[in-house]
Symmetry: C2
Subunit: 321 residues, 2 copies
């Protein structure tokens, strides 16, 4: 970053919300702002919303001190062309040149990158990955995604799509995934599956278990979500513990395959479900250690991400900084 410039703008574009922040060189976010992304109204509207959030921040912080704008987005991002393809849950979106549109509105450098990659970059620079030159970043939430950090830089792959670890199949005859493949790890440990699996176990228990879990959702099992499952587990609920342990074990299995291929040893886990209790991490690492190739076992670590949901904004701004 030009040393005269004191900040960059980071945009975390989601299907529901656009989060934008003023990010300083040390990774701190002195000012942050969110709007509805209006993803159901098509790309023009989404771009208007992005421009609006930036204008809002520039009303409070001098644009002349801004080094540039970084945008993290779902979908397949072409770094060369600055385009974004098929972000899930964005309506009427084929291939859109976000970079060009935002550059037109603000005469400054604009960069765009996949959101999982942004979060990986943020953890590498400012978060749990600082001490590791190479690691796999995992987003464990609604879906399972990832970013590959090699030599402190993101490994994008030839077309910018590397790191799609949610679609490693752990069972070729397994569950049908949304992507059309069978047995993808996402279809076992993603948010929806965890809730559904817990519900199934509770429902199938003949006498009703009257568990902690059921109390936490007032008997309405449709309210189950990973936070509640985690909370119940921490309070000793055996069903919740079982579901999360199993998820950790399966995630460890997928991670072993990935680390074997990429020659990595360290995994940093972010995303909503990464807030799970420590025993889940134990479960992941035990499974991973027992399955990874012998020469890779040494130094295997699985750690929790540090930046939480700020990773998106910070990582996007890092594209500039």
């Amino acid at each position: 970053m030009n040393s005269k410039k004191s900040f960059a703008v980071g945009i975390d574009l989601g299907a529901t919300t656009i989060k934008a922040g003023v990010v300083e060189k040390n990774g701190s976010i002195p000012d942050q702002f969110s709007v509805d992304s209006k993803a159901n109204k098509g790309p023009k509207m989404v771009i208007q919303q992005i421009i609006f959030t930036i204008q809002e921040l520039f009303g409070r912080h001098k644009p002349s001190e801004c080094a540039g704008i970084g945008i993290g987005t779902p979908g397949l991002v072409s770094i060369d062309s600055g385009t974004v393809q098929h972000p899930p849950n964005f309506v009427d979106w084929g291939t859109v040149d976000i970079t060009k549109e935002v550059r037109k509105a603000f005469k400054m450098p604009v960069f765009v990158e996949n959101d999982a990659n942004c979060a990986a970059i943020a953890e590498a620079r400012y978060g749990a990955g600082i001490e590791f030159k190479d690691f796999l970043f995992v987003i464990w939430g609604t879906g399972v995604g990832g970013g590959i950090i090699i030599d402190r830089k993101i490994f994008r792959g030839p077309h910018g799509g590397a790191g799609e670890i949610g679609h490693i199949s752990i069972d070729y005859n397994g569950r049908l995934c949304n992507c059309g493949n069978y047995g993808c790890i996402e279809s076992y440990v993603g948010q929806r599956y965890l809730s559904q699996r817990t519900k199934e176990i509770l429902t199938s228990a003949k006498d009703g278990l009257h568990t902690k879990l059921e109390q936490l959702v007032d008997g309405n099992l449709n309210k189950l979500n990973p936070e509640i499952i985690s909370q119940a587990a921490e309070e000793g609920d055996q069903t919740a513990i079982g579901v999360l342990e199993e998820a950790g074990e399966l995630l460890g299995c997928a991670l072993a395959s990935i680390l074997n291929v990429l020659d990595l040893r360290v995994v940093v886990i972010g995303g909503g479900i990464s807030a799970a209790p420590a025993f889940v991490y134990e479960s992941i690492i035990t499974s991973l250690r027992s399955r990874i190739l012998k020469p890779h076992k040494e130094g295997v670590r699985v750690i929790r991400a540090k930046l939480g949901n700020k990773a998106g904004i910070v990582g996007a701004a890092s594209l500039v900084l």
Copy 2:
């Protein structure tokens, strides 16, 4: 390579045989030579054998015209230190600095690299990969290994061990692999498994099938190997066709996971079993296409390697050339 030098020496170190060749800049091998690697006698003896083969070649070709020596070896190779760790089937071998020993004997540049990576480099420069900037190279033989070519260069990973694709698990509850993990693709499609599976099917057929396959091995099912199975398949033997089709389908499943993570589209298959009939490639590609992520489907290709068992020598020499 120094333009005055006309060739490099490529060494393909195997647990049974050391193959050495004089390799010219265009990838041709005007002279080639093999000796027993004596891997059961420890690293000192193996290094003696390597040095002996090089001396033999230098008796026939001027060392002053040799740009250097490249060595492809099994095991984990550290490019920085030039050491080789734990090559399977080499006795008493912890970590050995092959590079230093060979450099001591011949005053010229010496490079060492993993054998699968060497073969991948050879196919990238002189073989089936010439037209592709990025591809996954697969060695399909006794085991399943690989090399990752990104932007025409080998992707080694942080510790030089990237590309261990044989230990992607396709079933976390599946077959126990030699490596200790369950469901590794190697334990489904490696040479031994293919032969064993074929034998099982033939043995379990109550009345005796009197198949082409049984004729080819004179009724001795222990003689089954992938070449014979391939031959029987080409002659219409249904058991052989079934086994190979299934292997292709499973390999396609593992490849889908790997290509998703690495963002690759092209697979080049070498190794002994790559000589299998064309329908096996059809089976791989059908499975891969049906399982890979949608944005990756376009441009997916699976092709046969071109250099056969010369790839090791040529790739090793390429480290110098």
